[in-house]
């Protein structure tokens, strides 16, 4: 599609999702093979553990124009690496605080626990986050020039 046509077609928001290799990515896979309906606005990056997601990755996505970022991992207690997701939770707490302080809408960033067997939950989560981001519209940073 040419740029012109893209603009004509109206704005389609973009969501970035980080899925941990052991639970959430398998959950996403299950949602796919179960042919569950999901919005097609998200792109997934597979990471070995949700705690591999440095807050800088999330900032980078937001700065480069992603409208929402979701980080998913194993449920607490079920982490493949035993404790990784507890660190993720702390990182998320810090990330939210930094976003709050600089006045950026923290609801554009979400943390969810999704296990390998929770295909429907994955689909529901994506549906829910997609509608949140859709209602929020464009990420204000994507229109800033002096980044």
């Amino acid at each position: 599609m040419t740029d012109e046509k893209k603009k004509e077609a109206g704005y389609e928001h973009k969501i970035l999702s980080f899925c941990c290799n052991w639970c959430s990515y398998a959950g996403a896979d299950l949602a796919g093979v179960s042919r569950l309906q999901m919005p097609a606005n998200f792109r997934t990056i597979r990471v070995m553990c949700s705690s591999r997601v440095n807050p800088v990755y999330v900032f980078t996505a937001l700065e480069r124009g992603a409208d929402g970022v979701i980080v998913t991992g194993c449920h607490p207690g079920d982490c493949h690496y035993a404790r990784g997701n507890y660190f993720t939770r702390r990182r998320q707490a810090l990330l939210e605080k930094v976003l709050d302080e600089i006045g950026f809408d923290r609801e554009r960033v979400m943390l969810r626990w999704i296990s390998a067997s929770e295909g429907p939950e994955f689909a529901d989560t994506m549906e829910e986050f997609d509608s949140t981001i859709r209602s929020k519209g464009k990420n204000p940073l994507s229109e800033e020039v002096f980044l």
């Binding site: 707490a93 605080k97 943390l111 800033e144 020039v145």
Partner: protein, 373 residues
């Protein structure tokens, strides 16, 4: 904080001002075998700056300025440079401001300093003169600082010092109480085992109650807390929304000086200097297309936000970043604002204790359920 003083300190005579008294104490300590060398700020020969020096020959102490008017190289960086390759059994007494000592403790948790044989000596800090102002007119800078020290009036000190509610924190193994202490005297307060040991080697016995100093300190700090709150409130309003933040950071010239002088930013290779952030021209064109045009080089906001998320929990608000900014971005005030609230969320205070774990390397099984939305 490692108490241990049991509410008692040593009242020392300081007829020629605190600097002379501290020099005398250091000399005695060196001669009495309490330390083999002393790390202390000293005026550079040209007279327009101060640097930490490692003093082996006590005769040279005459030129030392334990309470220096400016903060140049952060003391924690000086301590790191000595002990980076491990503790070699040389006892060093390091004299610095409380914020510098707090950074030393944070660096210990990051395995960048070895405090085995380092005795840290801190003092009530009257603040520091903005570095660029001092460079422009050192004489005037000296005068302004002497006045601030005499009257404990920080209105001409750096903005970050005016809002610092930890400037009287007894962080070091030995702390020198200056504020609210009888005229012509200073109060030496030992902390923990190291402090008591040092006091013993100085041949002193803690016998003077520190209550009066503590009350005066607490009162002054409560006032500064108020200043900090209102200044943070103002800044938060200015920074709110990405547009506001970009206005605050607008003058940034990507020199990364703030990162280089930051004692907490110890990484050998910073992500923000690495090839990881180099993108293809197609990528930049794409981004420029989205917003119409794009600042080049890009990623200024990402640098600050990223650095914030990396070091803000250990930020001691020493203000070295703001002093080093050539374009006057209020970067220390901004980081201090975020640091204060982030540290509060984790109930963490950098420099409070070297035993305490940094928040991101520990966890509890049940906590922060509000972030798992």
């Amino acid at each position: 904080m490692k108490e241990g003083h049991k509410g008692l300190g040593v009242l020392m005579d300081a007829p020629d001002g605190p600097n002379a008294a501290i020099r005398e104490m250091l000399r005695k300590g060196h001669e009495g075998g309490a330390c083999d060398a002393i790390l202390v700020p000293m005026k550079v020969p040209s007279g327009d700056s101060y640097m930490h020096v490692l003093v082996e020959d006590v005769e040279m102490l005459d030129r030392a300025a334990p309470i220096s008017p400016i903060l140049t190289v952060q003391g924690a960086k000086a301590v790191t440079s000595i002990t980076r390759r491990g503790d070699e059994g040389v006892c060093i007494a390091a004299v610095m401001r409380p914020c510098e000592a707090e950074a030393v403790i944070e660096l210990r948790k990051l395995f960048q300093v070895d405090l085995g044989h380092i005795t840290i000596i801190t003092m009530d800090s009257p603040g520091a003169v903005p570095l660029q102002e001092f460079s422009r007119d050192p004489e005037e800078g000296e005068r302004v600082f002497a006045e601030a020290l005499a009257k404990w009036d920080d209105s001409a000190m750096r903005p970050i010092c005016q809002t610092c509610e930890k400037s009287n924190s007894a962080v070091g193994d030995l702390h020198l109480g200056l504020r609210g202490v009888e005229k012509g005297k200073i109060l030496l307060i030992p902390q923990g085992e190291k402090g008591l040991e040092a006091i013993a080697k100085l041949g002193l016995t803690p016998d003077h109650p520190i209550d009066e100093w503590k009350q005066a300190s607490d009162k002054a700090m409560a006032r500064k807390r108020g200043t900090r709150k209102s200044s943070h409130e103002d800044l938060r309003k200015r920074a709110s929304g990405p547009g506001g933040l970009l206005d605050l950071l607008g003058a940034c010239i990507n020199c990364h000086n703030c990162m280089r002088v930051c004692p907490i930013c110890y990484c050998k290779q910073c992500k923000f200097d690495s090839p990881e952030l180099r993108n293809t021209s197609a990528d930049y064109l794409d981004r420029a297309d989205r917003s119409g045009c794009l600042r080049m080089p890009s990623d200024m906001l990402l640098f600050h936000m990223g650095r914030m998320s990396h070091m803000v929990l250990s930020c001691v608000s020493c203000g070295a970043c703001e002093d080093a900014c050539p374009t006057g971005v209020p970067v220390a005030q901004l980081f201090s604002l975020v640091a204060h609230d982030a540290q509060e969320r984790f109930e963490y205070m950098p420099g409070r204790s070297s035993e305490e774990k940094r928040p991101l390397v520990t966890f509890q099984f049940e906590e922060f359920s509000e972030v798992e939305d």
